[in-house]
């Protein structure tokens, strides 16, 4: 089942609904890259709350999505990392940099708003 991607203003919101296989993760990456171009989106939010694990492949794919998006001028925020998944990521020593994370959708939207408003300003 493909991950639904909603367009909300200048942002895209991908909400993962269940555990994903590796090929479904790559499909999400390609879908997002395609839509960033089509909608000229400035921000992407990926809700990973329904993911059962974030292993090295998922982490690398999320980083690749963020890098691709950033080349096209969009900022990526990951939301909903579950507490047990966070513990596993730390113990595995997985790295999500340069990804930004937020606790929930609301916080992610606020973060993107600050980011896109502050764009081009040097006073932060």
């Amino acid at each position: 089942m493909p991950v639904p991607i909603l367009k909300q203003g200048d942002y895209l919101i991908a909400s993962i609904q269940s555990a994903l296989s590796d090929s479904e993760v790559l499909e999400l990456r390609d879908d997002l890259a395609d839509r960033i171009g089509r909608y000229r989106s400035q921000g992407i939010i990926i809700d990973v709350a329904a993911l059962d694990v974030i292993d090295s492949f998922v982490a690398r794919s999320l980083r690749n999505i963020a890098r691709t998006a950033s080349l096209r001028g969009a900022v990526t925020v990951i939301v909903g990392i579950q507490p047990d998944v966070a513990v596993a990521m730390v113990q595995f020593r997985l790295n999500l940099e340069p990804l930004q994370t937020a606790l929930d959708l609301e916080e992610a939207l606020a973060l993107l708003d600050r980011h896109t408003r502050g764009h081009g300003r040097d006073d932060g």
Partner: protein
Amino acid sequence: MTDDITVPIAADADIVVARGEGRMLAGRLGFSRTDATLIATAISEIGRNILHHAGAGEVEIGRDADERRVAIVVVARDQGPGISDVQRALEEGYATGSGLGLGLPGSRRLMDEFDIDTKPGHGTTVTMRKWRDRDALEVVREARGRHD
């Protein structure tokens, strides 16, 4: 043992099944939700290793126990090319296939025991265990069950 589950690994969707089974068995064996996620993550990595390096294989998940502890045992088997330099494969950042070399060392950190049996040309078997201490009540119950 009745708890043993074998999941054939031949496609990436099988990895999702294997880690789901691992999580469920971990729950049944009394592991915490966090431990179950650590176990599922290690199974995911090891299942992907099978797929990338051997093309196919299987993951067997079962139970082990001693006087004070219970373990979940994960055995990943393939008939692939094997690993010629195990020491290097366990080093951080050793890249083979399309991975970044995080799979084996990362999985080892998630589990309590981690063992690789491999020979070039003869496939690879990875055995991982995670243990949990039984509480006093469990020990008493089992002792009683044995004597009744």
